[in-house]
Subunit: 161 residues, 2 copies
DNA sequence: TATTGTTATACTCTATAACTATA
DNA sequence: TATAGTTATAGAGTATAACAATA
């Protein structure tokens, strides 16, 4: 029986910026997840390490708030990262209910690898653009991100990872 | 006790195009889901209706392939959309195992509303840009989408919805 | 009484594989 | 034997709420 030829129904022509952003954003997120997966990390764990590196002493509650994660999920992530000696829990002297989280030397070293991975990822995603185009793209995207009130550095989809 | 002031740790300055794309893409996808949710549809259902409208007679298997959905999921989506009389199943005369899917009049009418919602969504996402900037953004994004082999019109995250 | 971190549990979702009918 | 569509089910993942320690 003659199968109908699988002609592409549409080109990218007819899709607007919003749909292209969704497509590329999902693609970029997936690829980033694969890349940090090679460091045995998930994207939300990367977000946690980054934030703890920037604000040593942060509590688990604060982490959950900033990243939009459930506190119970933060527990299991911190459990794992502590077990791998990437970060350390220490009871706060001022409020003995909270843990102050800090990166270990090992954790700080891993942050270096993460930064390398992120740079390679960024280069790969924007590969077809020259420097001027890349800069222009970033400028436009930054305008949109600010307009929509997106928090710098926080992936809005962590809740589900 | 004096709580530390919650100063923003970073600005958008230091984040590259890839991360901005992830953020904006996730945001755009979420907002689009909310908008079509008002039509009692999910994004993958919208993708199905759109595809059936373009290629009447498509099989469920072909739908699953094109959209990256599990066949079992297509069954339940088609069940629901058929129940709402947005599309119709009819057995193929040539191969009685397959269903040929077509939009009903009601389904075609709903596609009109979907197109309106999509246009409003696109306008909202790109609101802070003027026409020239919007066109430039689309041009850059299209280059990236083509470079990464993304299929026009197909959200790569349908698998998980 | 409220909050931090933790644990347990009910719930949903997903993927896989088994099944039927046709080919 | 292979494929389209369907159904059932086991496993994973999520959110909720209950809990102990401290404020």
């Amino acid at each position: 029986m003659s199968k109908p030829v699988d002609t592409p129904v549409e080109s990218h022509q007819q899709f607007g910026a919003a749909f292209l952003l969704t497509q590329l954003g999902t693609h970029a997120a997936t690829r980033f997840g694969e890349r940090v997966g090679e460091l045995a990390l998930t994207p939300p764990q990367v977000g946690m390490l980054r934030l703890i590196g920037q604000r040593p002493g942060m509590s688990q509650q604060a982490l959950a708030d900033h990243l939009g994660l459930l506190p119970s999920k933060v527990v299991s992530f911190v459990d794992e990262l502590e077990g791998r000696e990437l970060l350390a829990r220490s009871r706060s002297a001022r409020d003995r209910r909270v843990y102050e989280l800090t990166l270990t030397d090992h954790g700080r070293a891993l942050m270096g690898s993460i930064r390398e991975v992120a740079a390679a990822h960024d280069a790969a995603i924007t590969e077809p653009l020259d420097d001027a185009e890349r800069a222009h793209l970033v400028k436009l995207l930054r305008r949109l991100a600010e307009h929509h009130g997106l928090t710098p550095g926080v992936h809005p989809g962590y809740r589900k990872m």
